[in-house]
């Protein structure tokens, strides 16, 4: 199978994939009762009416985790080619990849020492 055809398969699959869960939802839409009222479609809350705005800002701690994740995620994408080429790699390429991992570890320990990993 040539490369384009492989991705054509993935493309058709990606278009079809949301159809599978959509199908039962649409079928349910045909059968289900429709009796909405104001109370029924109000926001769920434990015994009282919901107070204040829900769409508030996330706590900054979540952003810090998000940022650390981003650093690791991007760097890991660079590690995948290194891992694929590993078996045929010269010693130089291997050491270069190693340095890269050490820099990554360094960043983790920096975040650790700065208490960015503590849940506050």
């Amino acid at each position: 199978m040539n490369v384009l055809n492989e991705w054509a398969f993935i493309g058709v699959f990606a278009v079809m994939a949301p159809v599978f869960p959509a199908l039962p939802i649409v079928i349910a839409w045909l059968f289900r009762p429709r009796k909405p009222n104001v109370l029924k479609s109000s926001t769920y809350e434990c015994g009282v009416e919901t107070i204040g705005d829900t769409w508030v800002q996330f706590r900054v701690q979540y952003y810090i985790y998000g940022l650390i994740f981003l650093v690791f995620d991007v760097e890991m994408v660079f590690l995948f080619p290194w891992a694929v080429a590993y078996n045929e790699m010269s010693l130089f390429g291997f050491v270069a990849g190693f340095l890269f991992i050490f820099l990554l570890t360094d960043a983790l320990f920096y975040a650790w020492k700065k208490n960015a990993l503590d849940w506050k």
Binding site: P18, I25, F80
Partner: protein, 405 residues
């Protein structure tokens, strides 16, 4: 799937169809065949999940509808179909309706690259492993969108936790995934399985498997990592405002995701379809893959129903201060040892062509390294646990005295 599509395409063209249309139609048939497997499996999975959970909790579980309750899922589906679908007025309608679709679709889409036997697979992408990581993070996104779009306090708390928990555990997951990729020298799942002809990767690197197992348990949001839908504190978490079939889709997606991870672990670490007589017939190969994946799936159910939920600070500390450094150390030690052995000529460079005997020195060295790391880690964990206990005991002594007074 390749031959099937090409064959079907030829037949269609010969019977007078347009070439482009014929190609599209044959691809569509291929897609339906591949996705049929997870779609049928999920119906059985829901029954398995309930039955196993019931047995572990000393109950019988569904046993009324059909033989041993096998038709229970069908009955539940019919019930869900007739349920009213309530959309809260405050919700963001577009995102609210899109989230269950994305959640389920992201799991089904993983099956596009899963090889069922050496010859039966959707596609053998050269970047199969990376494709899995990319598609799986769509599921995370769907849960977050569901929590945010519901415009509900509990759902939003669930979404908050998704951001930290699921996103964090993806780091050790991908680091553990790098080990099979590195050993096989390819990201294609087919190549990774072929590279395990001589020795399963779970033997070469048990630690990578354990890391992958733990973080995939967290990725699917199950106990002890089920903070995103913690029933007792968040009522149901991100899916609190969902009802009817949309709610059902979230659940089907979760059950299917767990099983998909089981199959993936079987492919990455347990030699996929390899087992006695697998080359005799594709059916035997498929049965081996199903048996291995099913066994791993069963252990995740077991874990889910046995251990209690952890606190969020414990979970985050466990990930960032233990699993992530461990997964990096594991990658460093394995790659270093393997390179040294390759340079000395003691280890083959192409695992797919290496037999059991040729791999023996490599296996022994890697196992010794993994064993040493495990012993060191267990000691470290014990010490840390003792410290934590001592601290919490020290904090309790004044309280106990005050109570005694």
């Amino acid at each position: 799937m390749d031959e099937l599509c090409t064959g079907l395409c030829q037949i269609l063209v010969e019977s007078g169809a347009d070439a482009g249309l014929a190609q599209f139609l044959s691809l569509l048939v291929g897609v339906l065949l591949v996705s049929g497997i997870p779609l049928v499996t999920v119906i059985v999975l829901i029954w398995v999940e309930r039955k196993v959970a019931a047995r572990i909790q000393d109950r019988i579980g569904p046993n009324r509808v059909g033989p041993v309750g096998l038709l229970q899922t069908i009955a539940d589906m019919i019930k869900l179909l007739s349920k009213e679908d309530i959309t809260p007025t405050a919700a963001d309608r577009v995102l609210y309706n899109a989230a269950p679709l994305v959640s389920f679709a992201s799991v089904v889409l993983i099956w596009a690259v899963i090889p069922f036997t050496p010859f039966h697979f959707g596609v053998d992408l050269e970047i199969g492993a990376l494709f899995f990581v990319a598609i799986a993070s769509f599921g995370t996104l769907a849960i977050m969108v569901a929590g945010w779009a519901s415009n509900n306090k509990y759902a939003l708390l669930g979404a908050f936790r998704v951001v930290s928990l699921l996103v964090s555990y993806e780091v050790p997951l991908v680091f553990a995934l790098l080990v099979p990729v590195l050993l096989a020298g390819s990201m294609s799942l087919l190549d990774i399985v072929h590279a395990q002809t001589g020795m399963w990767f779970v033997v070469l690197s048990p630690l990578a498997f354990v890391i992958f197992y733990v973080s995939s348990q967290a990725e699917t949001g199950r106990a002890p990592f089920d903070l995103i839908e913690a029933e007792s504190e968040l009522v149901a978490g991100f899916n609190i405002e969902y009802s009817g079939m949309k709610f059902g889709m979230f659940f089907a997606a979760e059950f299917l995701h767990v099983f998909t991870n089981g199959i993936l672990m079987a492919l990455l670490f347990f030699g996929g379809w390899m087992g006695p007589l697998y080359y005799e017939s594709p059916l035997i190969a498929f049965a081996w893959l199903g048996a291995k994946g099913g066994l791993i799936y069963f252990t995740t159910l077991w874990l889910r129903n046995t251990v209690p939920r952890l606190r969020i600070d414990q979970i985050m500390a466990f990930n960032w201060k233990f699993l992530v450094p461990l997964s990096i150390a594991n990658l460093i030690f394995i790659s270093l040892a393997l390179k040294v052995m390759q340079e000395l000529g003691a280890s083959p460079r192409n695992l797919a062509e290496a037999g059991f005997v040729e791999l023996l020195p490599t296996t022994v060295v890697l196992l010794v390294i993994n064993g040493a790391m495990t012993i060191y880690l267990l000691g470290l964990l014990r010490k840390r646990g003792q410290e934590a206990r001592r601290e919490s005991m020290a904090a309790r002594v004044p309280l106990a005295q005050a109570a005694a007074d």
